[in-house]
């Protein structure tokens, strides 16, 4: 079925079209699954997403390749198709992590992916990898919960938890515990693989929520066997009252949108120009720079997302991890605790992280390095309807804001810029997606950068995802380095 689905997609027919002719099949007693939701993303109307069959050559090759290696074309890939250059690197890395010879056995890899995704209650990724896990011959018993998995995998629970929510708390003791556990000890190479997998899937969960990825048709929650008419009702019911409220709210805001949002873009452009020009005049004192970082950090406390709803299917997914109450906590303010600010210059990915990863898990360092570089430098020099804009400042602000939330500080960055460039809605969105992705709602997605294209919002999501991954990796690798010295 999965293949069939993907194949119809490949030939350019959407799954919907296929349903139209399903009546004839139904007479033969075959139950046809129908997708519950339309298109790859809940947030983005299907018609605005790249139509299969109409993509450019480069993207098509990537899609074909993805299909050839995975046997499916998942929604994540479809959305990333907006940015083929990145997609290429992403797929290569993911392929290397999951399907190429490496320190870990295949079933372990998928199980770790499940653990990582489950930490963020990302049922989409969990379902995807449960299937893959079984396909590579994993023991179905493990899926009953972490308790049923081998002891060795259980030991990862702690690190998984910390990395997902408060990576700055990871210490060399954690690493030592994993490496020294007598019978269930991990080797260093395995551990690096584990860490890369965990961080990859934590951040991918952020992306999944950030873009509102819809379940695949072949996964739980992705399809229904009801008749179309009933089905559509069901969708309405299922997505609960929230959406209706959201729509209402959106509608109200929509009235003012016209004027307001145009200003939004213009204002942003103006600020960027200002910052570029005034850089030299405005000589902020060193102390002020330091306080700005603290302020930015502190402020990120207040843009905490509104906690209106709990996730629907927590129970289903939560069996893959322990201690569900452990969540993101703010990075402690200066002086509150003994967690020192992480100085980016003292342990950079390019110099230190890369060398360590590449030493213990060859080639992955290179792949990750490429991926980080591509995403950091990705630009089309456009902002909304404007062309030929240098967006490097904006990108850097987003990147550093995320690192700031994780307590990573760049000495050479003026954190005042963040305040100038990122408005409150946007910050709230970033914070939610990065720290507690499960709470992301369509309203949040819609309410930031209203004039921007969807492709740009996905670009933002890619930045969020990679910045988060790098932050987690930096903390984990520092801990490993400390252990080694």
């Amino acid at each position: 079925m999965r293949l069939a689905d993907a194949r119809t997609k490949k030939t350019g027919r959407s799954a919907r079209e296929r349903l139209l002719c399903s009546n004839c099949v139904k007479e033969m007693g075959v139950r046809i699954p129908r997708p519950l939701r339309q298109g790859p993303s809940e947030f983005i109307p299907e018609k605005e997403i790249l139509q299969l069959g109409r993509e450019d050559a480069e993207t098509r090759v990537l899609f074909i390749e993805a299909f050839a290696t995975l046997g499916r074309l998942d929604n994540i890939t479809l959305l990333m198709g907006f940015h083929p250059r990145y997609l290429d690197s992403f797929l290569k890395t993911q392929h290397y992590l999951m399907q190429v010879d490496g320190p870990l056995p295949y079933d372990y890899r998928h199980y770790i992916a499940i653990m990582a995704a489950a930490r963020h209650q990302c049922s989409y990724l969990v379902n995807l990898h449960v299937n893959d896990f079984l396909q590579v011959g994993g023991d179905p018993k493990w899926l009953a919960g972490l308790d049923s998995a081998p002891r060795k995998l259980q030991t990862l629970s702690e690190v998984n938890k910390i990395l997902a929510h408060r990576p700055w708390l990871i210490t060399k003791d954690h690493i030592e515990k994993l490496l020294k556990a007598e019978a269930h000890g991990w080797s260093l190479a395995e551990l690096v693989h584990v860490v890369v997998l965990l961080t990859h899937y934590h951040s991918l969960a952020s992306f999944t929520y950030g873009c509102g990825i819809n379940p695949e048709i072949h996964c739980d929650g992705g399809h229904t066997f009801r008749l179309p008419s009933v089905g559509s009702c069901y969708v309405c019911d299922f997505t609960n009252g929230n959406n209706a409220v959201d729509d209402l709210l959106n509608g109200q805001e929509g009235n003012e949108q016209g004027t307001e949002t145009v200003c939004e873009v213009e204002a942003l452009m103006k600020k960027m120009k200002q910052l570029q020009e005034c850089r030299d005049e405005e000589e902020a004192s060193q102390e002020e720079m330091a306080t700005r970082f603290e302020r930015e950090k502190a402020e990120s406390l207040y843009v905490a997302p509104t906690e209106d709803e709990e996730s629907v299917d927590t129970r289903e997914v939560s069996r893959h991890f322990e201690d569900p109450s452990y969540g993101y906590k703010e990075f402690p303010r200066q002086g509150e605790q003994n967690v020192p600010t992480f100085r980016a210059q003292d342990y950079t990915w390019e110099d230190h992280g890369y060398s360590l990863v590449n030493r213990l898990y060859p080639d992955v360092g290179q792949l990750l390095d490429e991926k980080f570089q591509i995403v950091y430098n990705l630009t089309y020099n456009t902002i909304a309807m404007h062309k030929d804009v240098d967006t490097s400042m904006l990108r850097r602000a987003i990147w550093n804001y995320i690192h700031c939330m994780f307590g990573i500080r760049y000495d050479d960055y003026d954190y005042g810029e963040i305040n100038q460039l990122l408005d409150r809605n946007f910050k709230a969105y970033i914070k939610t997606v990065v720290c507690s992705p499960v709470m992301t709602t369509k309203r949040m997605y819609d309410s930031f950068w209203r004039q921007f294209k969807h492709s740009e919002k996905i670009h933002v999501n890619l930045l969020l995802m990679e910045a988060r991954m790098q932050a987690e990796l930096l903390y984990a690798l520092t801990a490993i380095t400390r252990y080694l010295t």
Binding site: D101, E287, D346, D351, Y354, S355, L356, D412, T481
Partner: protein
């Protein structure tokens, strides 16, 4: 920590004295630099900026430059440099992008002199001009290099690398206007200061960031670079074409590189991650470091030679918050610990051995083989005074095995003909025994036969004792191996014993022999408490009879059989002693075995007979099949140790689960790998692949999964196919089409090496049966062999 010897070296010419010593800093160091007279060193880091004087016995803190009420990020140093002309002048690069100069001559506590905040990102490196007091160069993360004139308040010129961040900048020592800059993208640029618009020359030096570069202090054109790709390269840029002249491969990314003063070919390196040692290399000897300093407990961040004309003192700062002075005499010399010997087998059993010459000199009673060739010492370099490696003269010996004495034909034949799976155990054993026998490997053949008897289904024969007729029918399959027995022999046996022949039809000749023995035994063991003892008597009798038969058959061989006692004893052991096979095979000198080896016709039946008679009591006593596992295990070990790993592995595969648990994984793996290695040396790819497939070790199985990628070029545009699938990215055509049916070939593909047309194996085969021309119509006369 006090492990270093207190060495005060006598120095030639310079006044510097000292010993290996260290000082605990308060914080990790990022960089260090020395002043011109080598008496003071400055250490800079995120939380430290101090000057120490280097006394004879210790470091003494001289000044703390990190003063002030509020410590700004300007004090957080990524790099520091001490001017080599002016002892009062220092410059630091700050992580926040500032370039700061310091004047030690200032009266106030705060020595900060000038502050340049032109860079937008972290400044990675600062460098003073070697001859010009006021000229300072900086390289930053933002991709710009700036040249400052310290008499002015801002930079005099800006150089744009047009790329990512600058990791290092260095003024050329000899060339007034030239400086080199290394970049994160792997490039190195050479600039002329007079031309800020464009670089003079650019070349890609490394794969990944180039962390450091250093000009040779004497040789104008030499530039050493070190990168994340773990290489140190030396470039000759004196001519218009940049040439890589030396390359040293280290074990970790190279963070700093510094030429050793007065030593043309030496340079020191330290690494950025993982490896904490400092190495001094002789670039002409790139494989092993000349010297090594192992004192630091964390990565070394800064190294500097104490004096620009003194090669014996090296200072280093590290993340472990220590500052060290290393004496070169205290360096460990990895070369002393290296083992300069090499040994390698050739395909045909030749052995090459290279080692220190001295080893061979004293060795007088060494046996020289006929085919030994001894080569003279290689690489006898002229002793070079500048090169301080001990000259080791070495000799290379090649030993050839005598022609034919060690032919491995049997190995190849057996490997090819053995059947390891797909039939019943008995069949496999029989087949393999037959193969072995055909190749005159009787011991192996016998082992196979024994295995068959030991492991063949015991259930069928278990009731032998109870009922003779059942015993007969059960015995039949068991004795299949004796089909090779000559009919004549069978007949004669029958005549001699004459017990059961009445029941035998002539057309059952093949099976008559076993039946006879089976009957005998059954009869003789009936009512006996200790069947085994009885059996001996029986076997003995048997043998006597058989020997007589043999004498008749081949009287010339008589001398081989004059030791029936010994043979008997051995068999005795087979029955009673679980480790008997081992004994049997260990006694290679025993006439029994040697006779076996030398004689074909007569002994084999005897062996079979004796085995046969043994086989009965096994089941009589109701021994479980795995009773013999320990025996078989010993047997396998014996074969493996004898060098016949083929036998060990074949038995392992054939017996499968029956024996696998007895032998530990590692040994199995070892056997498998040895055997596979051998097979591959003999180019028996198919066999080796089969063995890999049949092996039960996971680590062996995965051989088959490694490097399964096949790279193909598009047949149209001749370029590599990068994407998966069957369509070429570039020319958008199906890549590998069958010339006969014009479909894409997805399985076995055969093509002509002459015209490079081809297609499905079957199609081409069929085509070439009827036509000799290429199916593509190119006119080539293809040949299929």
């Amino acid at each position: 920590m006090e492990k270093m010897a207190r060495v005060t070296t006598a120095l030639s010419g310079t006044t510097i004295t000292g010993r290996t010593m260290f000082y605990h800093l308060d914080a990790p160091a990022n960089a260090i630099s020395v002043c011109r007279d080598a008496a003071q060193v400055v250490v800079a880091g995120r939380n430290i900026f101090k000057i120490y004087s280097i006394e004879e016995e210790q470091f003494v803190e001289k000044a703390n430059l990190r003063v002030g009420r509020k410590l700004s990020l300007n004090f957080s140093c990524a790099d520091v440099v001490w001017h080599q002309m002016d002892d009062n002048l220092l410059a630091t690069a700050a992580t926040n992008g500032a370039v700061v100069t310091w004047n030690l001559g200032k009266q106030s506590r705060n020595k900060q002199d000038q502050l340049f905040t032109e860079h937008k990102r972290t400044v990675n490196k600062v460098c003073f001009h070697p001859n010009e007091v006021h000229m300072l160069l900086s390289g930053s993360q933002d991709g710009y290099m700036k040249c400052f004139d310290l008499r002015k308040r801002e930079s005099v010129s800006t150089f744009s690398g047009q790329s990512e961040s600058v990791r290092d900048v260095q003024f050329s020592v000899r060339d007034y206007f030239t400086f080199a800059a290394s970049f994160e993208n792997g490039n190195v640029q050479l600039w002329d200061m007079r031309r800020p618009d464009r670089y003079d020359r650019m070349f890609t030096a490394h794969n990944g960031p180039v962390f450091c570069c250093d000009w040779h202090p004497d040789d104008k054109g030499w530039l050493a670079t070190g990168g994340r790709d773990k290489m140190v390269k030396v470039w000759d840029v004196s001519t218009t074409k940049t040439k890589e002249i030396y390359c040293v491969q280290t074990i970790a990314s190279v963070a700093r590189v510094k030429w050793r003063p007065e030593m043309k070919y030496h340079l020191a390196t330290c690494s950025m991650m993982v490896d904490h040692n400092i190495y001094v290399w002789d670039i002409r000897r790139p494989y092993i470091p000349f010297g090594m300093f192992e004192e630091h407990k964390d990565v070394t961040t800064g190294i500097v030679w104490r004096h620009i004309h003194d090669p014996y003192y090296l200072l280093s700062g590290s993340k472990d918050s220590t500052l060290y002075q290393h004496m070169f005499n205290d360096a460990s010399r990895p070369v002393d610990r290296a083992n300069p010997e090499g040994l390698c087998y050739g395909l045909f059993g030749d052995l090459a051995f290279a080692g220190k010459d001295s080893m061979f000199g004293s060795d007088s009673n060494r046996k020289t083989y006929g085919g030994e060739r001894r080569y003279p010492i290689f690489f006898f370099k002229k002793p070079d005074l500048s090169e301080q490696f001990a000259n080791v003269s070495s000799a290379l010996n090649v030993f050839e095995t005598e022609l034919g004495s060690n032919s491995m034909d049997w190995f190849v034949n057996m490997a090819q003909q053995y059947i390891l799976t797909g039939r019943s155990l008995a069949d496999l054993c029989d087949h393999n025994a037959k193969i072995a026998k055909e190749l005159y490997r009787y011991q192996v053949a016998q082992t196979w036969t024994m295995l068959r008897i030991v492991y063949s289904n015991p259930g069928a024969i278990s009731s032998v004792n109870l009922n003779q007729s059942i015993g007969k029918s059960g015995g039949l399959p068991l004795m299949n191996s004796l089909k090779e027995l000559s009919v004549a022999l069978g007949n004669e046996t029958r005549l001699e014993r004459g017990k059961a022949e009445n029941r035998q039809e002539i057309n059952h000749l093949d099976s008559s022999n076993p039946l006879i023995t089976a009957n005998e035994e059954n009869e003789e063991t009936e009512g006996s408490d200790v069947p085994a003892d009885y059996l001996f008597g029986d076997v003995e009798g048997d043998e006597d009879d058989l020997y007589m038969v043999d004498h008749e058959n081949a009287p010339a061989e008589e001398h081989e059989y004059i030791l029936p006692q010994e043979a008997f004893q051995l068999r005795h052991e087979i029955i009673d002693n679980p480790s008997a096979p081992d004994h049997l095979q260990d006694k290679v000198e025993s006439p029994h075995v040697s006779g076996n080896e030398a004689e074909t016709v007569c002994l084999t039946p005897i062996e079979s007979f004796s085995l046969m008679s043994i086989s009965q009591p096994l089941y009589d006593a109701y021994l479980p099949a795995d009773y013999f596992n320990s025996l078989v295990k010993d047997m396998l070990h014996y074969y493996a140790e004898q060098g016949d790993v083929q036998m060990a592995v074949s038995v392992l595969i054939v017996l499968g689960d029956r024996i696998r648990k007895e032998i530990d994984e590692q040994t199995q793996e070892h056997w498998y790998t040895s055997y596979i290695d051998l097979l591959q040396r003999f180019k028996l790819w198919n066999v080796s692949n089969e063995v890999i497939k049949l092996s039960t070790c996971s680590s062996i199985n995965c051989f088959n999964q490694a490097s399964t990628t096949l790279h193909i070029n598009c047949s149209n545009c001749k370029r590599p196919m990068s994407s998966k699938g069957w369509i070429c990215d570039r020319c958008r055509q199906c890549a590998s089409m069958c010339a006969v049916c014009h479909q894409v070939v997805k399985g076995l593909f055969v093509w002509c090496q002459g015209c490079s047309h081809g297609g499905h194996l079957e199609h081409i085969m069929n085509w070439l049966k009827t036509s000799s021309h290429c199916p593509a119509g190119c006119g080539h006369l293809c040949e299929y062999t």
